[in-house]
C-alpha cells in the first residue's frame, strides 16, 4: 500500500508536468500559424510587385517566399533518419594487471590474486534518434565472474546532453538563420506584450478613475502603449501637445480666479468651474500616463533577456550557436520551426534517465558517494521538474573491503526517492527531495576473504527530506542553501515480548524523539574585487543519519573560506583555503575533536615555459575526550613546484621539479606520538632527439619512517627513451632502465618497457611490463618485482 501510494504520487506529478508542457506547445503552435499568415501576406505583396520581372525570376522569388512559410507552418523535420534503432558507437576495452607479491607487502589480504581482469563495453544506440549510452563494466569484484550479480555491472542511460547537442547541430544545419532569429524576436515580442499588458492595465485604471470623477472620457490613442515605438518625443507631442500646456496654464489661473471667495459646495455646483477642473486634471492624468509609458519602455529595454536577444542580431554561426546554447532558446526554436514527435519532445525535457548501475550524486545533503542499481529519472520543463529514483544499493567496493567487515553500516538494501522542483525557466534552483531507505540485510558473511562482509542489520526504514535552494545574485554571485532532516528507527520485530518492553519503543518511521536530526549547508560563491570567493558553513546534527551519504560526519560543524585572485596580467596567482571543523561525538559534549586547516598557494608564471608554485599547508588537530588529557597533533607541508626550460647546444630541455617537505605528528591512543617527516625531491628533464623523446627522472625521498617499504627513504634514477617503430600499427615504445635504492630493504636494477600501438585507427593496445632485480637484498619482501599491465581498446563504430 505504502509503495503503491508513492508510485501513484510520482506518476501523477509526472503527468501534471507533461501536460503543462503540452499546453505550452499548443499555444506556441497557434501563434506560429498566425504569424505564418502575416508572413504569407507580406511575401505575396513582394511577389505581386515583381510581376514585371521575367518568369524565371518570378518563380525563384515565389519559391523563396514559400520556403519560410513551410518552415513556420509544417516545421522542419529535424531528423532524416527514420530507422527506429541506430547504432552510433560501439567500443570495447579489456584490461589485465599482474603483480607478483608473494609477501603481501603491497596487496595485503589480496596477495593471492594472480592478476586482475576487467572489461568495458561502451555502446551508444539511437532509439527514435534519441541517444542512449549503454555500458557493461565488470571488474568491481575480486572475482566478479563468480559471485557478483551480472546486473550490477550494466547501465543504460539516456544521454540528454548529447541529444541537445544533436538537436542544436541539426537546427544549425537545417533551419535558416532568419528563421532562428524570428524565434528570438518572437520571444522579445512576448516579453514586450507582457509589459504592454501591465501598462494597459494601469492606463485603463487611470482613465476609469478620471471618468468616474469628472463624468467625461479621457481618450488615449491605442498605439500609445506600443513599447516598440522609438520616437518618444512624437508620442509626447501627441499626448501633451504644446497647445495643451498653454491651455493647462491658462486653466490653472482660471481656476484660481473662479475659486476666490467661494466654498466647496458652490464650486461643486459651478459647471464652468467643474469643466475647467476636468481639463486641468485631464492634463495631469495624461502626464502620469506618459510617465508610466516611459517607465515601462525603459523596463522593457533594460530587460536582460531582451538585451541579449537583440544583441544577437549578428547572423554569424558563432552568435547563433551561442544563442542556441541556452536550452530555453533551443526549445523555442524547435517549437517554432521544427517538427518533433511526441516522444522526441518528451525526451527533450527528460534531463536524466539512468537505468542499471549508476552513481547518484545530487548534493551532499541528499545523495552522494552512492552507487544505485535501478532507475533514476528526472523530467524538467520550463515551469517544473519532477524526479524519482528506485533501486538497490550497489556501493559495495570489494576491492576496498575484501576480507574486512564494514561497521560503517549505512549500506541500505534498497531506496525509493522523489524530487520536485522548479523548471529550467526559473531564476532559482529549488527542489525538495524525499528519500526512503530500507534496511533488510540479513546476510552475515563474516570471515570471507573474497568480498566485503557486513554485520546483519536490524530491519528498519530511514527517511531523509532535503530542501535545496540556489539563487544567483547578479551575474557573479551564487548562494545555495540545503536543509535536511532525517527520520527513522529500527522496526519492531515480529516476535512476542513483554508489553512493558514495547511501551517505550519507537517503531514508527516518522518518530522523532532524538536530538538534532538535521543538517544544513550554506554556500556562497562569487567574485568580489576580481577575487574568486567561496564561503561555506555546514552543520550536521548528532542525530542526523543520511544513508544516502555515508561520508557525512554526525555532530560536525564546519566553516570554510576559499579565495583566489590573479595579479600582474594573470601571471601571479594566489589561492587560499581555510577551514575550521569541530565534531562533537556525544550529546553531553564529553568528546570533542577540532581541526583548523590552512592552505596558501602562490604561482608565478614567468613565461610560457617557466613557472614556479609555492604551496604551504598546515592542519592542527585537537582532541578533548572524557577521562583523557587534551591532545594536539599537526600536519604541515611546504612544497615548491617549478617548470623551466633551458637550451644547450640548440636543444631545448624541459624540466619539472618538485621539492616537498611534509611533517606529521599525531598523538597515539596509548601514549606517545606517531611522527613522520619526509622530504621529497623529483626532477624530470626531457629533450627531443630528432623525433624521439629522452627523459631523465631523479627521485629521492628522505623519510624518518623506514619500517614500511612504500614509505622508506629511497633514491631512484630512471632514463626513459620514447621512440616510434616504423611499420604497421604506428608502434610507439618507451624503454626505461632504472636504478633503485630502498633504504633498509634492497637495492635494485630494473627495466620498464611500454608499448602502444594503433591498428587501422580502430584498435589501441597498451602494454607495460617491468622487472626489478634486487642486487643487494636486506629484506626479501618485494626485492624482486615483476609486473604487467595491459589494456586493449577496440572501436567497432
Amino acid at each position: 500500500m505504502y509503495k503503491l501510494l508513492r508510485s501513484a504520487l510520482a506518476l501523477s506529478a509526472w503527468f501534471v508536468v507533461y501536460n503543462t508542457n503540452a499546453q505550452d506547445t499548443t499555444q506556441i503552435r497557434s501563434s506560429k500559424v498566425d504569424s505564418a499568415s502575416s508572413v504569407l501576406k507580406q511575401q505575396s505583396k513582394a511577389v505581386t510587385s515583381q510581376l514585371s520581372a521575367p518568369v524565371s525570376s518570378l518563380k525563384t522569388t515565389a519559391k523563396q517566399a514559400i520556403a519560410p512559410l513551410q518552415q513556420l507552418n509544417q516545421g522542419i523535420n529535424i531528423f532524416d533518419n527514420k530507422k527506429p534503432i541506430t547504432v552510433s558507437h560501439l567500443s570495447t576495452e579489456v584490461d589485465y594487471n599482474y603483480f607478483q607479491d608473494t609477501s603481501g607487502m603491497g596487496l595485503g589480504v589480496l596477495q593471492n590474486m594472480t592478476g586482475t581482469f576487467s572489461y568495458l563495453i561502451d555502446y551508444t544506440v539511437g532509439i527514435n534518434n534519441m541517444p542512449f549510452a549503454m555500458t557493461l563494466r565488470e571488474g568491481n569484484g575480486i572475482n566478479s565472474m563468480n559471485y557478483t550479480p551480472f546486473k550490477n555491472f550494466t547501465q543504460f542511460n539516456f544521454d540528454h546532453e548529447q541529444y541537445l547537442q544533436t538537436l542544436r547541430s541539426q537546427v544549425m544545419a537545417k533551419v535558416s538563420p532568419d528563421a532562428i532569429m524570428n524565434s528570438a524576436l518572437s520571444r522579445v515580442k512576448t516579453i514586450r506584450m507582457n509589459y504592454e499588458q501591465q501598462l494597459q492595465g494601469e492606463i485603463s485604471h487611470m482613465q476609469s478613475d478620471y471618468t468616474k470623477q469628472y463624468n467625461t472620457p479621457l481618450p488615449i490613442p491605442t498605439d500609445a502603449k506600443d513599447l516598440s515605438a522609438n520616437d518618444m518625443s512624437a508620442l509626447r507631442n501627441r499626448l501633451l501637445p504644446g497647445s495643451a500646456v498653454t491651455q493647462y496654464q491658462q486653466n490653472l489661473s482660471k481656476l484660481s480666479y473662479m475659486s476666490q471667495g467661494k466654498d466647496q459646495k458652490t464650486l461643486a455646483a459651478d459647471s464652468n468651474y467643474q469643466k475647467t477642473l476636468a481639463e486641468v486634471k485631464g492634463y495631469e492624468t495624461m502626464e502620469k500616463v506618459y510617465d508610466r509609458i516611459t517607465f515601462f519602455k525603459s523596463k522593457y529595454e533594460d530587460n536582460p533577456l531582451v538585451k541579449q536577444l537583440l544583441s544577437t542580431s549578428s547572423y554569424s554561426p558563432g552568435a547563433l550557436k551561442n544563442y542556441l546554447s541556452d536550452p530555453n532558446h533551443l526549445s523555442q526554436v524547435l517549437d517554432d520551426q521544427a517538427s518533433l514527435n511526441t516522444i522526441q519532445k518528451l525526451f527533450y525535457n527528460l534531463k536524466t534517465l539512468n537505468l542499471g548501475q549508476n552513481s547518484v550524486n545530487t548534493n551532499d545533503m541528499s545523495m552522494a558517494n552512492v552507487v544505485n542499481t535501478g532507475v533514476n529519472g528526472e523530467f524538467q520543463n520550463k515551469s517544473a521538474s519532477v524526479g524519482m529514483i528506485y533501486g538497490q544499493n550497489n556501493s559495495v567496493n570489494n576491492w576496498q573491503q575484501a576480507g574486512l567487515t564494514s561497521s560503517v553500516t549505512n549500506e541500505y538494501s534498497n531506496l525509493t526517492g522523489f524530487k520536485v522542483g522548479g523548471g529550467n525557466g526559473s531564476q532559482f534552483d529549488q527542489s525538495l527531495s524525499v528519500n526512503f531507505f530500507n534496511f533488510n540485510n540479513s546476510v552475515n558473511s563474516l570471515g570471507s576473504n573474497s568480498g566485503a562482509s557486513y554485520l546483519p542489520v536490524a530491519p528498519r526504514q530511514d527517511g531523509v527530506i532535503t530542501l535545496h535552494f540556489g539563487m544567483p545574485i547578479g551575474a557573479k554571485h551564487n548562494v545555495t542553501l540545503d536543509v535536511s532532516k532525517s527520520f527513522g528507527s529500527p522496526n519492531q520485530g515480529s516476535s512476542t515480548d513483554s508489553s512493558g518492553s514495547k511501551s517505550g519503543s519507537e517503531g514508527s518511521l516518522f518518530s522523532n524523539s532524538g536530538k538534532a536530526n538535521y543538517a544544513a549547508t550554506l554556500n556562497y560563491t562569487g567574485e568580489i574585487y576580481k577575487t574568486d570567493i567561496r564561503v561555506y558553513l555546514r552543520k550536521v546534527g548528532l542525530g542526523y543519519n543520511n544513508p544516502g551519504n555515508a561520508l557525512l560526519h554526525s555532530g560536525e560543524s564546519e566553516m570554510g573560506l576559499d579565495l583566489a585572485r590573479k595579479f600582474l596580467s594573470n601571471r601571479l596567482t594566489v589561492k587560499y583555503a581555510g577551514d575550521f571543523k569541530q565534531q562533537v561525538f556525544d550529546p553531553y559534549s564529553n568528546f570533542v575533536y577540532t581541526s583548523i586547516g590552512n592552505k596558501l598557494s602562490t604561482g608565478f608564471k614567468i613565461d610560457r615555459n617557466d613557472k614556479v608554485t609555492l604551496t604551504w599547508q598546515r592542519t592542527d588537530y585537537k582532541t578533548d575526550f572524557y577521562g583523557q588529557s587534551p591532545m594536539n597533533g599537526v600536519n604541515s607541508r611546504l612544497q615548491l613546484d617549478g617548470a623551466y626550460r633551458f637550451i644547450v647546444d640548440g636543444k631545448k630541455i624541459m624540466n619539472n621539479i618538485t621539492l616537498s617537505r611534509q611533517t606529521m605528528n599525531i598523538p597515539m591512543t596509548y601514549g606517545g606520538e606517531y611522527s613522520n617527516t619526509s622530504v621529497l625531491f623529483t626532477n624530470t628533464s626531457s629533450m627531443m632527439l630528432g623525433k624521439n623523446l629522452l627523459s631523465l627522472t631523479i627521485l629521492t625521498n628522505q623519510s624518518t619512517n623506514n619500517n614500511y617499504f612504500f614509505n622508506t627513504s629511497m633514491f631512484s634514477a630512471e632514463m626513459g627513451y620514447s621512440y616510434s617503430v616504423s611499420g604497421p600499427g604506428n608502434l610507439k615504445m618507451t624503454t626505461t632502465p632504472g636504478y633503485y635504492d630502498n633504504q633498509g630493504w634492497n637495492t635494485q636494477l630494473g627495466i620498464r618497457q611500454q608499448m602502444s600501438a594503433s591498428l587501422s585507427g580502430k584498435m589501441n593496445v597498451d602494454l607495460q611490463f617491468g622487472y626489478k632485480k634486487g642486487i643487494q637484498v636486506i629484506q626479501t619482501a618485494l626485492a624482486n618485482q615483476l609486473f604487467v599491465s595491459t589494456s586493449a581498446h577496440y572501436t567497432f563504430k
Binding site: V109, W399, L404, Y593, T669
Partner: protein
Amino acid sequence: MLRYLIITLLTVSMLGKVSGQGNFVFIGEVYGRTLDGLANFQIQNFSGQAHQGKVYLTVKENISKNVVVNMVSPLITLSQGNNQFPVSAYTGSSFSFPNNAMAAIVSQTRNFPPGEYTYTFRFQPNDKSDDFESVVDANIQPLVPINLISPADQDKICEKRPPLSWQPPVPYPPSMRFRLQLTEKKRGSDIENLLMSAPLVLLDNIPSTTVSYPSYAPDLQEGHTYVWQVIAYQNGIILSKSDIWEFTVQCSDSAKANPNDSYRELRELVNGNYYYATTYLKFSYQNHYNIRKLDYEIYETEGGSKKIKNLPDIPLNPGHNKIDIDLSQLDLEEGKHYIIKVYPFNEPAVIVRFVYQENSNQ
C-alpha cells in the same frame, strides 16, 4: 588475524561474569560500537541439554548512567556447547529505547556515541530452568574520521608518480591499518567511479600515513583525472572511510579545446555587430606582402579603452593565413567587449569588436 581473534575472544569470555548454566561471549570494543554489531555474540551452553528461550540484552552507558537500548530476541534454541546467535533471531528481535538523549541518538543513527558501556546479556529459558547472564564492559572511543591530505581535492599536479598522504584518526591506534585505492576517473563520470571500477593502485595493510607511489603501478598519464580513497581498519573491522578525492595530472598548461568555429573574414562589422570569441579569436587574414608577424592591438571598450598587454606574437605566412589568437592567457574578463585593431601593411587598420567568452568545457 585469527590468532588475535581467538585470544580476544578468550580474554573477553574470561572477563564476562560467568554463571553455572551458560555464558555469553561478546567483544564490546569491536562490536559494541553499533546497534548492528550487537548481533555478534556467542552463547555457551554448559547445561548438557538444549534449551529454548529468549535473549535479553540491556546496554547501559555509565558516564551518563542511562540505559540506552533493550533488546529482546524471539524464541531461540540453544544447543549444547557454543552457539552463534542466529542472524534471523537478531533481525526478528524487538528493540526499545528509553527516553533519554543517548538512546535517541542510537535509535536514529544506529551508532553508539562514545562512552563507557555495560552490555548485560541474559538468557531466559522457556522451561522454567535457571536463567544465566553475562556482563561485558567496553570503553567506546570516538572515531575521528580520516581525511585525505595530498594530492588535494580537485588539484592539478605535475608528478606522474605522486606520493599520497592522509591524516589518521586522532588519537592514532597503533594497530590501525589502511587500504588505499586509486582509480582513473573516466571522462564525464562522477567520483563514485571509484566504487565501480578496478583499481589502478591498490595497497593494503599500510601501517603509515604516507606512501610513495608504488613502483609496480603504471605511470599516471598527463591530462587524466584520478580518484582515490583510503579506509582505516582494525582487527578486520572497517572503522572509517575517507572522502573520495580527485586530482588531475597536468604538467603543462592545459591543451585548451580550440573551439570548432570557422575562420571569419576580418572585416569591419556594421550596425554595431560583433564577434563572439570563445577562448580563441579566429579569423582569416590575407598577407599580401612578405610580413612575418601580425601587427595588432587589443583594447578594452569600457573604462578608458585600456590597451591589453602581453599579446602573443602571431607569425604570418605570405598569402592566406588562419589566425588563432589565444585569449585565455590575456587579462580579459568574460562577457566584456573588446576591440582588436589589425594593421595590414600599407592598408588602413581594420577594427573589429568582439565579446570574450571562456570555454565552458574547461
